[in-house]
């Protein structure tokens, strides 16, 4: 795009001129739709002809060997990575491939990263505050005040993630597991239509896992959830439909039982002992 034409796009400079994103349209079927997506890095195909459909309100688990392309898939959905070919739709209205990360996020796609990334210089409270679903344009952000309602919401989430005591500590000092929880909290604050959760229970104890499982299942229905996880116990406890990725494409899809008995899945992923 030439510089000139961008300069004439005044609305791209001043966000108060930007039209607000229109809501996601799910009347005609799935909320997320990936078709024939391929992405390669220096010739290595991390995603190879991937097709995936997530229905509105669904909770989907995705498993697959290390390097199968699960995280890369999330990168594609959230606009971090552009596929070489293929199409990705959010509802039937939004072509995600034409949008950038903040646009996609404001459409209502939230993500928890595999490696927890929080704002280390900000407090736990502020991390949650920033994640909160509100008007995120510049001037509204500048003039934003915290309403009682919003504060209550933050408090609620703080309780859920068990960090109430640490709310005014900088997020940088949290332990690994605490950061995982904070990320989940930020995801909750965003109230997205679609949650992409990459390895939520890594580093959690069995009991914490149970809590997480409860949390995610309670979200499903209102929101759509995609969970990537290697802990089979956890997956079993929440899964309705499981998709197995392998070498960048779908290897198997079905109920947990179907999948875990699939010899191909056992061979490349579960191993005999599991």
């Amino acid at each position: 795009m030439s510089i000139m034409s961008e300069l004439t796009h005044r609305d791209r400079v001043f966000d108060f001129l930007t039209p607000t994103a229109s809501p996601v349209d799910v009347r005609h079927g799935p909320i997320l739709y990936l078709e024939d997506v391929t992405v390669s890095f220096d010739g290595f195909k991390a995603i190879n002809n991937l097709n995936l459909t997530i229905d509105d309100g669904e909770l989907r688990c995705i498993i697959g060997p290390n390097g199968a392309g699960k995280t890369t898939m999330m990168d594609i959905i959230t606009g971090k990575t552009r596929p070489d070919v293929g199409s990705v739709w959010f509802g039937s209205r939004h072509n995600l491939l034409t949008m950038n990360e903040p646009d996609i996020a404001s459409l209502g796609i939230g993500r928890k990263f595999q490696k927890p990334t929080v704002f280390e210089a900000l407090t736990v409270f502020e991390n949650l505050e920033l994640a909160m679903a509100t008007d995120k344009r510049v001037l509204p952000t500048l003039t934003a005040r915290l309403t009682g309602e919003a504060r209550a919401r933050i408090d609620e989430v703080l309780t859920t993630i068990g960090l109430t005591d640490l709310r005014h500590r900088e997020a940088g000092i949290l332990s690994h597991g605490q950061k995982q929880w904070l990320e989940i909290g930020m995801l909750l604050m965003q109230k997205p239509r679609l949650l992409l959760v990459d390895e939520p229970v890594a580093g959690m104890t069995e009991q914490e896992m149970e809590r997480t499982a409860e949390l995610l299942t309670s979200l499903a229905g209102k929101q759509s959830v995609v969970v990537v996880e290697h802990d089979m116990g956890f997956v079993r406890s929440i899964a309705r439909t499981v998709t197995v990725l392998h070498q960048g494409s779908v290897l198997a899809e079905g109920s947990m039982d179907d999948v875990s008995n699939d010899p191909k899945v056992i061979e490349v992923y579960l191993g005999e002992g599991a």
Binding site: N66, G67, H176, T205, R211, H230, Y269, G271, E272
Partner: protein, 232 residues
Amino acid sequence: MLKIEKLNQFYGESHTLWDLDLDVPQGQCTCVMGRNGVGKTTLMKCVMGEESVKDGSILFAGDVELTQRKIEDRSRLGIGYVPQGRQVFPLLTVEENLRTGLAVRQDGSKTIPERVYELFPVLREMKNRRGGDLSGGQQQQLAIGRALVIEPRLLILDEPGEGIQPNIVAQIGEVIRKLIEEDGLTVLLVEQKLPFARKYADRFAIMDRGRRVAEGEIAELSDALIKQHLTV
């Protein structure tokens, strides 16, 4: 192999480890457990020297007082470390990541032991890819592989199974056992997942808010203990 006594550690003003005692017997796998944020990682860092301790002692191999040693000397003594969060060198290739461990090998070998590649074939496959480009699980495998390159006497594993696919997790467990049995390796393991701990560890220690609250043979790890210290 490792004997920790009355260890106290502070992050600035906050007292994180309290009078902590821990015994890691030679040729066994000791598993440290505890809820999030109780100080497991902190303890490992103290052993490695990445955090300084206020007082207390950490004796290695009977008579080496670790708290007096610089970090780099500790690995020279034969301690391998797989930290939580992988900590691979993102811009070094996989092979270069592994080669960083060659400096301290006792035998002065300049090649990466074949065993590492056998255990994690993906590392061979991706030899020339940058560490940071790997998937999460691949990075974790790289971190473990890297620690094995130095052929340690004591291996510290901070939640090693995190993000690794189930069959490889099992394989890692097997390797640990094999090293313990064949080479007399000592392992200090932090692990949350009970099945794994039960299957591969010899001993356990439970931490709660910076203190060691329980310790014993893995068989002694009772549901009561778990309920008391590991549930929220």
